[in-house]
Symmetry: C2
Subunit: 399 residues, 2 copies
DNA sequence: GTTATTTATTCGGGCCCCTGACGAATCAAT
DNA sequence: ATTGATTCGTCAGGGGCCCGAATAAATAAC
């Protein structure tokens, strides 16, 4: 079941090649694998035998109809390894996938409002349930990724500013959850993972330069540039609540909770509606509904929100040059909203950049978590650590 | 001289390891190399022999003083390969380095004002002179990088918007220059290269998250995030002239040349001084000098410039979370200016980020070009192409 | 039934890495 | 000056891995 303790680099590379072919051309014969990977038939065969013994692969039928001997077809076995994706927000969503990236199950429920340790307990419970349903065990999951709000320190993996869920920043989530579930846990910012979700299974598939603008309770940004997620020195890349847009950035409120956040965050939108003379509302959703129903005050607030969002988008475009901006979050994902933003943006940006609404919606976070968990598992099994890095340049010398 | 036509992956890795050790611990014996690389003495010795035969390496004396047999020390030979860095701006700067990154020579002169093909001719002439002085030949240079203003398309390598140097966008610079010099040429945006220069030899050494804010004729940004240069889909990342800062972004001037650029570009600064009632000036430098001499109007303009620059910096901080911002360009590199910007920024950003003035100044571009040329040469000789990429995830399946 | 074709395994050769042993060169001490 | 300890570099043997060729097995077409 575990990979062979030591494997030479050459063999590891062969294994990696074969695995990649299996991943993308699923039912495939040994002969075909040899052709696709460029390896010799024997090497391929040896690798497949090893995979078979590890339970990583299983035969599924034979070819037929073609001239010549029939070939046994193989595919990655669902028992070869599982990964778990978790999205911890207002709701708790957990999803289970196998090593081939097939999503086996998904479940969600409201997050335990007591937060902190209770939420972790809840995660363990939900994960255990999914695992049992699929005849595995949490401890047999090879890779777990947790989507959490707040800034995740890229070095320590600690959650440094967790709004919404109380007491999360004080816990060593990686250690606690890892112990509960018996597998390595990695935490990543929820918006970043939603972005990766859209890139894997959503509206940004196969793109290398995508920005994800999330408007919900707060405002946030995920950046995927040149095929990689952008985290920044403190994992705070994309914390655009502090962008100097929509007001005087030196004002007290701006400095406290961020200039843009003060205007475009959920409370900001409701406050603007109230200030405009609108009657009391207790959710942003209501403001949008009234706007659609013909309330001119609400429409003005929505329009201004779209304008500010477009300014944020223009800022992102000028800074990192994405080819697509995805709007997400409970506010941003509204389909009519994307159009409004796009219309303003047309007059702001030097060149047009496409804007789309998130297609995965609430699922984006878990899907992204799964994608990272999967990638980590693949890297663990078939990565070639020593080679990933480019050759470091020599330091300057005084000669 | 050329590397062996075919080498197995294993040997290529060994070569790479040994080369890296040679690069960083220069005069070093075979025995020491074996220890450092973790390879056996045998393998190390074979690799060194091969390097020696290729002329990549040369003996330089022996150890002495230690107990035991003396060891022959080796270092990378300057004849092992050369790289060329070129910065094509108002002045043309060319620098030559060897494969170990030792800068052998540097020369600069005003760029041929006729632009286009004449400038390319001038580059060839200057490169030829440097090469001759160091007993080599342009055609023996293994890697050439050209720093050019404008947006460089990351796929084609074409210069898409070249201000200042006339007719450059119309030429296929890579092909023309490559033919003239007989070596592969790569073009990269000058600001990006200045940033890489500061990271290699300047004020940002060994940092992984750096932004370079260039204020000169125009305004531009270079981004180095998580250890990699950020280019964006069209190579237009960092084109922050269009940031919606410093005015109404929907105004005619803003839409034409960019909102921020209109205020902070050289002509913008002079215009603002004029509009404030200042007497005629014909360079930004003059405005700064008058400010220092006590002209309150000029001081106001400088202060406002610093404020807008700080807003741009705050934008960058909120977006990509750098640990350092380097100010460069003829205006930005002024040491007093960085202080002014830092002071404003302190009140804008949620957490303090260091600001420094460029230490390489005008040389930053060439140095950065050298660093990229060097990296490309190293990758060409010792890269392991098949391993660079991470395993792609499988696409979603409909099952 | 025979033939052509495709699949899968076996065998020998070559590359490359590692370990252990050996001669060579040097310093330190007698 | 000789001896011993230490380090350097090379030689030889063993094992892992990859490849190409040959061979056996299975199947469609004729």
């Amino acid at each position: 079941m575990p990979p062979p303790p030591t494997a030479s680099v050459a063999r590891q590379l062969s294994r990696r090649n074969v695995f990649e072919a299996l991943l993308h051309r699923s039912p495939i014969s040994r002969a075909e694998l040899a052709k696709v990977t460029g390896l010799s038939k024997q090497t391929t065969s040896e690798v497949i035998d090893a995979f078979d013994q590890q339970g990583l692969v299983r035969p599924v039928g034979r070819t037929s109809g073609n001239v010549g001997r029939t070939a046994v077809l193989y595919e990655l076995s669902p028992e070869g390894g599982h990964v778990l994706g978790i999205d911890l927000g207002a709701r708790l969503t957990v999803a289970l996938a196998d090593i081939a990236g097939r999503v086996l199950a998904e479940a969600d429920e409201p997050t335990d409002s007591r937060g902190g340790a209770w939420a972790l307990e809840q995660i363990a419970r939900l994960a255990g349930r999914l695992a049992r349903e699929h005849h595995t065990h949490p401890s047999r999951m090879r890779s777990i990724v947790l989507a959490a709000p707040g800034v995740v320190n890229p070095k320590s993996g600690a959650i440094e500013m967790a709004p919404n869920i109380s007491g999360l920043g004080l816990l060593n989530v990686v250690a606690l959850l890892g112990e509960k579930l018996g597998s390595p846990v990695v935490i990543e910012n929820d918006i970043n993972l939603a972005l990766l979700g859209e890139i894997w299974h959503g509206c940004a598939q196969n793109l290398a330069n995508v920005a994800f603008l999330a408007l919900g309770t707060g405002v946030g940004l995920g950046l995927y540039v040149d095929g990689r997620l952008v985290r920044g020195e403190n994992g705070a890349a994309g914390e655009i609540g502090y962008l100097p847009i929509g007001g005087d950035p030196l004002q007290a409120e701006s400095r406290l909770q961020g200039c843009l956040e003060y205007q475009v965050g959920a409370t900001g939108i409701m406050r603007r509606y109230r200030e405009a003379g609108g009657s009391e509302v207790d959710s942003v959703r209501e403001v949008f509904e009234r706007a659609q129903a013909g309330d001119p005050l609400a429409a003005g607030v929505v329009e201004e929100t779209a304008r500010l969002t477009a300014l944020a988008a223009a800022t992102v475009i000028a800074t990192v040059d994405p080819q697509l901006i995805v709007l997400g979050g409970s506010v941003g994902a509204r389909p009519d909203f994307a159009d409004k933003v796009a219309r303003v943006l047309l007059r702001l940006a030097p060149r047009p950049v496409e804007i789309r609404s998130s297609t995965l919606g609430k699922r984006a976070g878990v899907v992204g978590a799964l994608s990272v968990a999967l990638r980590r598992l693949h890297d663990e099994l078939f990565g070639v650590a020593e080679l990933a890095a480019t050759l470091p340049l020599p330091p300057p010398r005084t000669r």
